[in-house]
Symmetry: C2
């Protein structure tokens, strides 16, 4: 329990505006004007209403559902929830690009799977080796350097790499309605965490710029690191060993490790988020769970129960009984992707 | 790099006052009045001056040492830095008290070391078994319950247990000068983390009340947890397996895992903090490292190079060359413990 002022802080906070890939600070104390729509890219309907109603209830001081600011923790999955994940996780494009970049230093890759397939541009064959092949590619591209070197590698990639289908920068494939939701929750005193199966150090270099979420509020899968002195200077070296997998039943574990308290709201899109949603919404007091359902084959992708990426089956079955909001991208969202300035 | 407003936020923040065991919110926007001493329990001298000078330089907008608010991360060791650690770590008292409480459910402990020694009140013999015996006692008292059950166990203990020498509550053995330092740093836009070798879930139940540091800003050693359904309700069960040791070279690793960026200031008291101080102060730009040296046998304890708890040897040798401030508790502090209201 917090003894920090029970008064909602939002009137004292600097506000900010998320614009496709850029977090812009706006004048201090600028709040959404009362009566103005905080979620303009959301169609009016049950999903939008459930969000607004939840936020109104937990922020109404003196009302039974009131939650102090310190406890207003919201967790968001990343892939498929905040940005796209088709035709494969965007981190996989990073892996393949890195293999191509590193190939000159690894002449042996020409004859060694799964690297040989990647270098031939045959992603399907590269992934045919299953988890073992994937792990080998992850370690070859994510380990062996310092944390600061890896940070720079990701920063360089994310500012230039483009999605093969949309031709957009990956950071321009974040969902405009979700950016509005992040801004809306923040304006109401929420602290927002990403809780993703993706690599924690793959996300941290850009989540602050793109989502307004600082590195310390990113939770993800990780490899081990080791403290070393290099030329007398301390560094952390990334080792080719799994440290933590932040997916499925790992998500509540990761949340407890990093946050140390149960969120009051959780947002996901696949069965990898099921345990996080269940953990969050089974706490006492008002809770909120939301699933983004990919239903828009024209503007994005349509997939659920049998998808190889972002499979959503158990969650769809359980949502009604658990009281989770299911968002249909086709019906509930006016716009899909953020609009570049 | 943050794109959040570069303007120091402290004029917009709620301030708070730490009073022995209680974090009190004071009126919004109340800042330390300019000219008023922000560290009244510190004697004027080089140590106090080094703190004030560092804070002034990193908060002076437009000056070469300026650091944006988002990057003002400070890490504090707990045992021996924020509260006492003699004649043994306070968490050890918790372990022994728990063994006594749990003894009726474990009749076998009467004849089994190290438990038998604890039950006879012979702490020295209990600890004679070294690391193996200690680990056995940790697991017997810290594992097997849910995270929420453990939280309540710690809360109950910390509000009643008293230190055998001082007769004070353990939370009244926090250092008044350090409470002032936490308040001073917060008022200047710093985000403060505890980075302790102690148990992360042993600290979280009370650090917000005592230090104003919320659970998500506590980093410590941990055991593994497992997500389970109990009667259909999700819980996290604490397992008798070490997950992470947040000491020595583990501290920078823990900092990177949780925060994802290098602090600009670090505060410790023993060689267990050496790597954290080194990691912090070897970053670019202005950095600050401080060691609390226990030199006051009358008002607290005096120990360093050969102590079995809080050994400080390497740090004393290196401090001058590394530019770290060494605080002498006897000379630099007017008061040691916080003053109960």
């Amino acid at each position: 329990m917090s003894r920090i002022s029970k008064k909602p802080l939002f009137v004292h906070r600097s506000s900010s505006l998320l614009v496709c890939g850029f977090l812009l600070a706006v004048s201090c104390c600028a709040n959404p004007v009362r009566g103005e729509d905080p979620l303009p890219s959301w169609n009016d309907g049950a999903a939008k209403q459930s969000i607004i109603s939840f936020v109104a209830r937990v922020t109404a001081e003196g009302a039974p559902g009131f939650v102090p600011v310190a406890e207003r923790i919201a967790t968001f999955d990343n892939d498929g929830t905040l940005w796209g994940e088709q035709p494969m996780y965007f981190q996989a494009f990073f892996i393949f690009d890195r293999i191509k970049t590193l190939a000159p230093q690894h002449p042996e890759w020409k004859d060694k799977e799964p690297f040989a397939s990647v270098l031939r541009g045959d992603v399907k064959s590269a992934l045919a080796g299953g988890e073992h092949a994937l792990l080998e590619m992850v370690m070859a591209t994510h380990a062996g350097m310092t944390t600061e070197e890896f940070d720079q590698i990701v920063k360089d990639w994310i500012t230039t790499a483009k999605h093969p289908v949309s031709g957009r920068l990956f950071t321009q494939m974040v969902y405009q309605p979700m950016l509005e939701l992040l801004t809306y929750l923040r304006a109401n005193g929420f602290k927002i965490y990403i809780v993703s199966g993706g690599g924690i150090e793959f996300m941290r270099p850009w989540t602050e710029r793109v989502y307004g979420i600082p590195p310390e509020q990113v939770i993800g899968s990780s490899i081990r690191t080791k403290f070393e002195l290099r030329d007398g200077r301390p560094v952390l070296v990334r080792l080719p060993e799994i440290n933590f997998i932040d997916d499925k039943a790992g998500k509540p574990v990761g949340i407890q490790q990093h946050i140390g308290r149960r969120p009051i709201a959780a947002f996901g899109n696949s069965d990898g988020d099921f345990e996080m949603l269940d953990w969050t919404t089974s706490g006492s007091g008002l809770r909120f769970g939301l699933i983004v359902h990919h239903t828009d084959a024209d503007r994005e992708w349509a997939y659920d129960r049998s998808s190889h990426v972002g499979k959503l089956d158990k969650g769809l079955n359980a949502a009604a009984a658990k009281g989770w909001t299911v968002v249909s991208m086709q019906d509930d969202w006016k716009t899909i992707y953020c609009v570049a300035p």
